[in-house]
Symmetry: none
Subunit: 210 residues, 4 copies
Amino acid sequence: MATTKKSPRWERRKETRPSELTAAALELFVEKGFAATRLDEIAARAGVSKGTLYLYFDSKEELFKAVIRDSLLPALAQGEELVSGYPGDTEGLLREIVHGWWDTIGSRPVGGIPKLIIAEARNFPEIARFYYDEVIARGQALLCKVLRRGIERGEFRPFDPDVMVRIVFAPLLMRAVWRHSIDVCGVAAVPADVYLKEYLELVVRGLRNT
Amino acid sequence: MATTKKSPRWERRKETRPSELTAAALELFVEKGFAATRLDEIAARAGVSKGTLYLYFDSKEELFKAVIRDSLLPALAQGEELVSGYPGDTEGLLREIVHGWWDTIGSRPVGGIPKLIIAEARNFPEIARFYYDEVIARGQALLCKVLRRGIERGEFRPFDPDVMVRIVFAPLLMRAVWRHSIDVCGVAAVPADVYLKEYLELVVRGLRNT
Amino acid sequence: MATTKKSPRWERRKETRPSELTAAALELFVEKGFAATRLDEIAARAGVSKGTLYLYFDSKEELFKAVIRDSLLPALAQGEELVSGYPGDTEGLLREIVHGWWDTIGSRPVGGIPKLIIAEARNFPEIARFYYDEVIARGQALLCKVLRRGIERGEFRPFDPDVMVRIVFAPLLMRAVWRHSIDVCGVAAVPADVYLKEYLELVVRGLRNT
Amino acid sequence: MATTKKSPRWERRKETRPSELTAAALELFVEKGFAATRLDEIAARAGVSKGTLYLYFDSKEELFKAVIRDSLLPALAQGEELVSGYPGDTEGLLREIVHGWWDTIGSRPVGGIPKLIIAEARNFPEIARFYYDEVIARGQALLCKVLRRGIERGEFRPFDPDVMVRIVFAPLLMRAVWRHSIDVCGVAAVPADVYLKEYLELVVRGLRNT
DNA sequence: TATGAATGAGGTTTCATTCAT
DNA sequence: AATGAATGAAACCTCATTCAT
């Protein structure tokens, strides 16, 4: 009574599944927002059935949280490492960080998360708070350290680094946000390299001492 | 035999109603996003019944469009006027524009629209396009003119104004966007005047010739 | 202080209004059925406002009843008169009645009422009952009298006139019903005169003695 | 340790469900008409929840179409078969058809469809057209063939069979229509066998040659 | 008397969630 | 572990009815 074992109706992949699901969810949440994304679609894109989602996540909201959480871990540590042992001048460090952010985050699907957070922060204060503490605050602290380093070494003029960090990061962030919202609708975007070049030129001149 | 003047169950306000409704809708759309805002809530906040909304707008989407449309017209013309006949140096004009924008838009409910557009652009391409053409393009053209003026008068160094305009405006826009998203969740925001001062300092130094 | 009397906003026509309203309502009820007819439409077709309907009828249902009631009075008496004093043979009387019915009812808007009754009888049992008692029963009694006359005079073969009356009347009624339902959708209908001729031929041959 | 077999909250019946749903819908549509029938009721009568309807039909209108479609296919083929190979005289064939129609359609729930179509034709021209092409036209063609057979064999007198078919079928159809409309409201109906006997007598005498 | 803006109950439809298979 | 049929709470929207003007 041997059951012929041709293409089983499903496989168990307990380890790999969750990240496949959050990956699919990320794409859709970024595209359409939280509310407008149906679980059917996420399941379909991940190649599983709707019910399967509930094997890994208790609710749509928990899935959302997982999406946000999962997409941070790799991105942050990388940046913190870079800063801690940088030997050269601060302007160079800043350029490094900016390009690094663009290459690993801004230009990738994860780059859609800021848009998502902006859109849903008020509906999910808990997530917003979590995101603020774990990502924004850490990211700002990172960049702040760089700015302070510049001031201390006499490369940058004096200013309040806690305020300046938000200003300096804004054009970078905005570029990623727009890429996932208005740019989609046929608006011609400025190429990334051109944008980053002009951006860095403005910032370093704006921060430079004298 | 004074007639007892019981407060009537409703009043007729054919003229004023639409703007009352869009005002209420704007607040809620900004707060919760388009999809998460229920018509019940909008009606309640405007002090009318749900059905009344349909006397003035054919659908939730039409209401959304009206909200966007109504909040632009007054705001844009004002800025265009300011630029056209400005006598002083371009740095002063830039400062004027920035403070003007903050006072009439950024610090008011209308300032929530960018966040709203960012959140809903992909679900409402038509609106995104409309917003791009009528607001973003016009706004960028406005600021671009200012930048070009600075270059031509030798006040600003040479750069591509079409690219720079996006970079320069980003921190301002971002401030408004955050104010309506993450800031709400207990995050201590930098005071506007401090932010604007540091921002302008960065920008004018970054643009200045030599 | 003479008020200039140019085109007053409305006129009072208490006498003529109700029948104008039921006339408009009849057309629409026949066209679309009771539920699918909106009071707005009735008001619009009658050239009044929606509120005006409520000056004359307590509810949509009452209006419906009035429509049914009003369209009977003239039609029935006429037929009863015809029968009572007819001198000739019964076949001729039958032909007379059939053509009379077609000319005054079947071919006119009122001819849509049977379709309306058929459609709504189960939702308005009270009306159905009323219609049965006042129209169908009286109509059947009328025609029954004719059939019985034919039998008694030896012109018609013996049969149960109470049953036969329904059978004989059906093709006539059906023609009116279809005219207001399926015929509307581009189906080519048989001309009335051809239909009536064949119909009468079938019936008189079918009833005739030997 | 027998497993207590509590009745489950629901069962899966992918195969049988659609026809159960259309059966319930048919009953209610016939009873109350399309617009006046609430999906709640249909679901309740079928013993499912409202949402289940949408698993099988995209909309109320699609359900309506399915109801019509499903109740035709079996009924029509049967009649066409009967006619094609009938050996005896045409009068006998006619009697056979009439009784067959009554037994399989007229006296069953499906017999309510004509009433339904009559009521909704103007609101759903597409359905009306479909019903005309697939049912009425085919049915008329069927009966027409019979009439023509009678004429050709010299059993029936000469007449236009395309016109006569409508007339001959009307009393039969009307009986079914009334059964589902006015008869429900306490009106004493003539027993079917009596009605059919008198009807056939009228018709065969009316058609017969000499 | 006549209007039409305002109401709100109730309809169709959607979709996150559950659970029999 | 995986499925997807079934659920039912809301959401948007309609429209008969009311009532301030």
